[in-house]
Symmetry: C2
Subunit: 333 residues, 2 copies
DNA sequence: TGTCATGATGTAACCGGTTACATTTCAGGT
DNA sequence: ACCTGAAATGTAACCGGTTACATCATGACA
């Protein structure tokens, strides 16, 4: 493998001069510069980045922890991360944790073992048991999408409470009074915020909360299908259902149709995320659009700020949502 | 940062002994081992992997080039890659090329600059202009899903021709004689094979090929929507449409319904891939199931074989498909 | 007691860049 | 010609592990 010493020899200069020619060409004389560049070309020299990283103690790698890349919303966030990272000269090490804690721990270690400079988490778990780190070396990390209250790091998210309230108010505005909700797993902060927004809307409209109308799901179409089955089977079934993700909404719509009911004529269904398939479901989904790619880009920007030492305290950034009204919700009748 | 020298000092031994204790504990005496391990714990020592990689000249990183991670099929393949890589102690550097050649070139460079040991490509482009590499250092690469004929590297794929033939024959078996096809971009080898399989089926059934029934799409729901519009607007419209991806099929179904026709009563629609949403579309999609995660796992296994020098020649591996019949196809009437 | 094999440990070179510091070169002023 | 300072270049230490080789300790055996 051609290394800097070979190039130096070929050009008849020292390794330092070669290094300088490539890193700051303006401080070497034009004559030498030409000699060196010629030698670089001749030798087909490419600097060994492992050596550079080792010396500079920075890998310019970012670890991204994602529960499932198969979730289309996360996929969009990762696209944004990838794009911004590449622009700034960073690479993305992807880790599909599948919720397994040992996976998360493995990847968390990549920072302590210097395989990566920082971490972006798309789920708000704390993969870092407190005792795993020396207190004097805080882990450069940002949370995207979901945020733990106690997380001591920067984060970027939606105002989930306001968004959930907005879409619930949309349903109330259509005349619905019994509104079911298919929510996410209990311990998710996302779910907590969205349930709170849903409650806000009911309360503002003077509708009493019926806890039995809240069904947990798992953010998959199948879990939406199952949950909708439970809601629809009731005698006092709701006339509208707010799902915490489009994937669950699509599952719910299928179940509702299978039970012989129509959407939105008999039951209105609203989703959350505005994934690509949302406008291709039948009927097209009313939902909350999230700027998924922007989450990714923002998260990278914040992490790099931390890494380059420009930023100390934890910052929060809230991105705007948009209520997208399509055909799956209609006036109650 | 605590390094191996600090640990050695703490334990009162040499750095070599520390290194040996951690790498091959059996060749140090139990007494020393205990001393060293105690020092490691006390110092909270984690080996700096950058140094290890630098020394061993291996990063244990794999670059994955993917056109769009937003495509759910690719997302599944990546899941498989990720899982297998992690199991074997490798990490995944994700590159969303978005079809941009400069992106592909950037990531291809990661191998020559020693940021990664090898490449897995999910699209069969050749991101490596011939002159970019010294002929004596072939690039460790495998193709997954899509394969260029001239590619000099191992690959894992489906027998696309046979699969396309199988699903076309399913349609013919239902009595359809005019069968449209929404295919992918012209230059894709995938499309070429699948079109060939479609033609095989027609020929075997004695149906003349009508080239005008082949519409190009872009593997997105929207492009399926557009292409279906063209097919359905014809006076002699087909009674069945085979789409080269489920995403296009879902778009096509929406368009067909919007035009006032029913699926499958008026037009049968078949897809390809069996993505998660395939069984949640209305009607549920008849399609070809691909073992997407297995593609990823196989690709990793093949690449590691190349990397560890066990394998020289290019191998091809063909994984099985499965025809999944759901409600979007029916007997012609 | 001396010799030798064996196992345990230490010493230092090495991977391939970067960069602080030393040295050389050279232009400009007297 | 001589001095001075800036610019250009060279020398070598350094990053943090691994490992070939050297050294040392121990015990068996003649």
């Amino acid at each position: 493998m051609t290394n800097i010493r070979k190039v130096a020899e070929l050009a008849g200069v020292s390794v330092a001069t070669v290094s300088r020619t490539l890193k700051s060409p303006d401080i070497v004389s034009p004559r030498t510069r030409d000699k060196v560049l010629k030698a670089v070309r001749e030798a087909g020299y490419k600097p060994n980045l492992m050596a550079v990283q080792f010396r500079s103690r920075r890998t310019r790698n970012l670890v991204v922890l994602v529960p499932t890349i198969a979730n289309t919303f996360f996929a969009r966030v990762i696209s944004g991360i990838q794009e911004a990272a590449q622009q700034q000269g960073y690479s993305v090490l992807l880790c599909n944790t599948l919720g397994r804690e040992e996976s998360e721990a493995t990847y968390a270690k990549m920072v302590t073992t210097r395989q990566a400079d920082g971490v972006i988490q798309l789920r708000a778990y704390n993969p870092f048991p407190a005792d795993a780190f020396a207190p004097d070396t805080p882990l450069p990390m940002v949370n995207a999408c979901e945020v733990l209250d106690e997380a001591p790091c920067s984060s970027v998210k939606l105002d989930n409470r306001a968004a959930a309230r907005a879409i619930t108010e949309h349903l109330i505005g259509l005349g619905h009074r019994r509104i079911g909700m298919i929510k996410g797993p209990r311990r998710s902060p996302l779910t907590r915020d969205r349930v709170a927004g849903y409650c806000d809307a009911l309360e503002a409209a003077g509708i009493a909360l019926d806890e039995s109308l809240l069904c947990p799901g798992k953010f998959t179409p199948h879990s939406g299908y199952e949950a909708a089955g439970m809601l629809v089977a009731r005698d006092d079934r709701p006339s509208a259902i707010f799902c915490e993700s489009d994937e669950m909404a699509i599952g719910a719509i299928q179940r509702i149709k299978q039970e012989g009911l129509r959407v939105p004529d008999d039951i209105s269904v609203a989703g959350f995320d505005d994934i690509a398939f949302a406008s291709f479901s039948d009927p097209p989904l009313t939902t909350i659009a999230q700027p998924a790619e922007a989450f990714g880009r923002e998260a990278v920007a914040m992490l790099i700020e931390v890494l380059e030492g420009r930023e100390e305290g934890a910052k929060q950034r809230i991105l705007p949502y948009e209520l997208v009204i399509r055909g799956s919700t209609a006036v109650k009748r």
